[in-house]
C-alpha cells in the first residue's frame, strides 16, 4: 500500500512537469498548427532564468521569484515568435518546424556558453522536510516541496482552463484556433492573440522549469528529451486540446513509472512507447482530440 501510494505520488510530480510543458505545445498547435520544437528549450530557459534570479537576488522569496521568471520567459517566448516564426506563418508548415529546431539548438548553446555546462539545482527555499503525517500513517516519504509542486501545478492548470474557457481573451483564442482567416475580420487582433498564446505557453513552461530545477536538476540540454516527451504527451492526449495535454502527460508519467515498478526498468522506453503506439491505434486522434483535423 505504502509503495503504491509512493509510486502514485511519483507519477503526480512527473506528470505535473510534463503537463506544464505539454500545455504550451498544445496551445500553440491549437492556434497556428505549429509544432514548436523549441518549446522544450523555452522550458529549460525558464528554469535557468529562475536559477539566475535566485542566485542574483537570493533574498527574493520564491512566490516573487517564480512569477518574475515566468514573465521574463513569456517575453522570451514572444520574442522568439516575433523574430523567428511570424514571417513564416503562411509558409509551408514544415519549414517552420526546422526554424523551431534551429531556435532550440541556439538556446541550448546560448545557455551553455553563458551560464556554463554544469548541472544546477534551484534552492528556492521551499520547505524540504518530509510530511510527518503521511510518513507516520502510511510509511510514505513525501517532502513538502513535492506537495507544493503538485498543488501549484494543478492550480496553474486550473487558472489556464478558466482563462481559456471563461474570459474574452480565451474566447478569442478559441475562435482563432477554430478559424484563423475569418476571425481577424471580426476585429480580433490575430498577432496579439498568437503572441498571447506564446506568452502563456512559455510562462507555464517556465513554472515547469523552476519546479524541475527544484525537484530534479537543470542542465542546458535538458529541454531536448523533456520536450520530446511532452510533445508525445500532448499528441497522445489529442494535440490542440488543453484537457488532452494534461491527461496525456499523466498517462505518460503513469506508464513510465508503472513500467519501472512492475515490469522492467531496462525496457522502460521500449514498453512505454509500445503502449503509446497501441493507444494511438485505438484513438487515432489522441484521447481528447477531434477527428477530422487532417491536413488538407
Amino acid at each position: 500500500m505504502g509503495v503504491l501510494v509512493q509510486q502514485l505520488l511519483n507519477v503526480a510530480q512527473l506528470g505535473a512537469v510534463y503537463a506544464l510543458i505539454a500545455l504550451g505545445y498544445s496551445m500553440v498547435y491549437g492556434i497556428i498548427r505549429l509544432i514548436n520544437f523549441a518549446h522544450g528549450d523555452i522550458f529549460m530557459l525558464g528554469g535557468f532564468i529562475g536559477l539566475l534570479i535566485g542566485v542574483r537576488l537570493p533574498w527574493l522569496p520564491v512566490y516573487v521569484m517564480m512569477p518574475l521568471a515566468m514573465i521574463l520567459t513569456a517575453l522570451a517566448g514572444v520574442l522568439v515568435e516575433r523574430v523567428a516564426y511570424r514571417r513564416l506563418r503562411n509558409a509551408n508548415r514544415m519549414s517552420v518546424v526546422i526554424t523551431t529546431l534551429g531556435v532550440g539548438i541556439f538556446l541550448e548553446n546560448l545557455v551553455r556558453l553563458t551560464v556554463g555546462p554544469e548541472t544546477r539545482q534551484i534552492r528556492s527555499g521551499m520547505p524540504t522536510a518530509s510530511v510527518a503525517w503521511l510518513q507516520g500513517h502510511l510509511g510514505v516519504y513525501v517532502t513538502w516541496d513535492k506537495v507544493l509542486i503538485i498543488l501549484v501545478s494543478f492550480s496553474l492548470m486550473a487558472i489556464l482552463w478558466l482563462v481559456v474557457n471563461r474570459t474574452l481573451v480565451g474566447t478569442a483564442m478559441r475562435a482563432v484556433a477554430d478559424n484563423k482567416d475569418v476571425v481577424p475580420l471580426m476585429g480580433v487582433n490575430l498577432n496579439l492573440i498568437i503572441a498571447g498564446t506564446f506568452a502563456i505557453g512559455s510562462a507555464l513552461a517556465a513554472a515547469g522549469g523552476i519546479f524541475y530545477g527544484q525537484a530534479y536538476a537543470l542542465d542546458p540540454y535538458m529541454g531536448i528529451d523533456l520536450g520530446w516527451k511532452a510533445f508525445i504527451a500532448a499528441v497522445i492526449g489529442g494535440i490542440g486540446s488543453i484537457e488532452g495535454a494534461v491527461l496525456g502527460s499523466f498517462l505518460l508519467a503513469g506508464v513510465e513509472v508503472a513500467t519501472v515498478a512492475y515490469l522492467s526498468s531496462n525496457l522502460k522506453n521500449g514498453i512505454a512507447f509500445g503502449l503509446l503506439i497501441l493507444l494511438l491505434l485505438v484513438w487515432p486522434w489522441g484521447i481528447m482530440g477531434k477527428p477530422g483535423m487532417r491536413k488538407v
Partner: protein, 330 residues
C-alpha cells in the same frame, strides 16, 4: 545550352568519384586531396541516401515521419552482424571480387531487414495521419534504440566494435547514384504520381481508385530500405556503431538537411546535405584557424545561419524545383 542528360551526369559523377578515390589512395596532391575531404564526401554521400529516402515519405507522400534513424539502425546492425558473424572475412577471399561480394551481401541484407521493418511500421500507420503518425514513427525509433541497448550479443550500450571497413568513398558514391536513379525514376513514374495525389488529397485519390494504404506501405518499405542501405554503409565505414547514434537526434539532423534543401525535390536533398555538411566543417575550420578559443561557438553560430536561411527561403534552398538534369523529359 542543350539539356544535360541524367545518365551523363551520373557517369560523370562516378568517374570523378573513382578519380578522387584513386588520387587520394595514391597520394596525389596530398595537400589538396587529402583523406579528410574524402571522409566528408563519404558522409555527404551517405546523408544523400538518407535524406532522399526520407524525402519520399515527408516530401512526396506528405507524411510527417520522425523515425528515419530507426530504419538506419536496423540496416547498420544487420550489416555489422553479417560482416562479422556470418560472412567470411574479406582477407580469405580472392581480391576485388571477394570484398565486392561481401559488400553487396551485407548491404542487401541491411536493405532487406530495414525494408521488412519499414513494411511493419507502414502497417501500423494506416489508421493515423499527420502529427499522430509522427508519434508512431518516433516511438518506433525509440523502441528500436531501447531494444538494441538490451541486446548483449550486439554489444548493448557498449556498441558494436570490430566491424571491418568494407566500404570506400567510391562504393558510397555508387550507392548514392543508384539510390538517386531509382528514386528519380519511381517518382517520375505512375507510382510517384500516386504518392503525390495522396499528399494533395487522400480522399480524392481514393475516389479515383488509388489503393491508398497499399501505396503508403510501398513508400514506407522503400524509404526504410534505402535508410537501411545508408545504415549498412555507415556501419562499415565507421567500423563502430552504438545504439545512441541512431536516436531522435540523428532523425532531427536528417530532417534539418531535408527541409533546408526543400521538400519533394531530389535536387533539394542533394543541396541540403552538401550545404549543411560543408557549412559545419567550414565553421569548424575557420574557428580552428582564426579563433581556436571559440571552438564551441560553432554550435551557436550554425543554428543562427540555419534560421536565417529558413527565414529568407521559406521553402528551403530549392523549394520543390528540380535541376534540369534530374527532370525527365516531358
Amino acid at each position: 545550352m542543350g539539356r544535360i542528360k541524367f545518365p551523363i551526369v551520373c557517369a560523370a559523377a562516378l568517374a570523378v568519384s573513382l578519380g578522387l578515390q584513386l588520387a587520394v589512395d595514391g597520394g596525389v596532391f596530398p595537400d589538396v586531396l587529402n583523406p579528410y575531404y574524402l571522409h566528408l564526401l563519404t558522409i555527404i554521400g551517405m546523408n544523400i541516401i538518407l535524406v532522399a529516402s526520407l524525402n519520399l515519405l515527408n516530401g512526396y507522400l506528405g507524411e510527417f515521419a520522425l523515425g528515419h534513424a530507426g530504419f538506419m539502425a536496423v540496416g547498420a546492425y544487420t550489416a555489422a552482424l553479417l560482416a562479422t558473424r556470418v560472412l567470411p572475412a574479406a582477407a580469405d577471399l580472392p581480391p576485388v571480387v571477394g570484398p565486392f561480394c561481401i559488400l553487396v551481401a551485407t548491404l542487401g541484407g541491411a536493405m532487406a531487414a530495414a525494408a521488412l521493418v519499414g513494411w511493419l511500421v507502414g502497417l501500423l500507420t494506416f489508421k493515423t495521419v499527420g502529427d499522430y503518425l509522427a508519434i508512431i514513427t518516433l516511438g518506433f525509433n525509440m523502441i528500436i534504440v531501447n531494444a538494441i541497448q538490451n541486446l548483449d550479443f550486439v554489444g548493448g550500450p557498449r556498441g558494436f566494435t570490430g566491424i571491418p571497413k568494407n566500404t570506400s568513398f567510391f562504393a558510397v558514391a555508387v550507392c548514392a547514384v543508384v539510390t538517386l536513379a531509382v528514386l528519380r525514376n519511381l517518382i517520375q513514374s505512375s507510382f510517384g504520381r500516386v504518392w503525390v495525389s495522396i499528399r494533395e488529397n487522400a480522399i480524392a485519390a481514393e475516389l479515383m481508385g488509388v489503393a491508398v494504404n497499399r501505396a503508403k506501405n510501398q513508400v514506407f518499405t522503400l524509404a526504410a530500405a534505402f535508410a537501411g542501405l545508408a545504415g549498412g554503409l555507415w556501419a562499415q565505414n565507421q567500423q563502430f556503431i552504438t545504439p545512441r547514434s541512431f536516436d531522435y537526434i540523428k532523425t532531427t539532423e536528417i530532417l534539418v538537411m531535408l527541409y533546408l534543401g526543400g521538400m519533394a525535390s531530389l535536387s533539394g536533398s542533394i543541396l541540403g546535405v552538401v550545404a549543411y555538411t560543408v557549412l559545419m566543417e567550414v565553421l569548424r575550420n575557420l574557428l580552428s584557424a582564426f579563433a581556436p578559443q571559440l571552438t564551441e561557438w560553432r554550435m551557436l553560430i550554425s543554428p543562427l545561419i540555419l534560421i536565417l536561411i529558413m527565414l529568407t527561403r521559406q521553402y528551403g534552398l530549392m523549394g520543390n524545383r528540380e535541376w534540369a538534369w534530374l527532370r525527365k523529359a516531358p
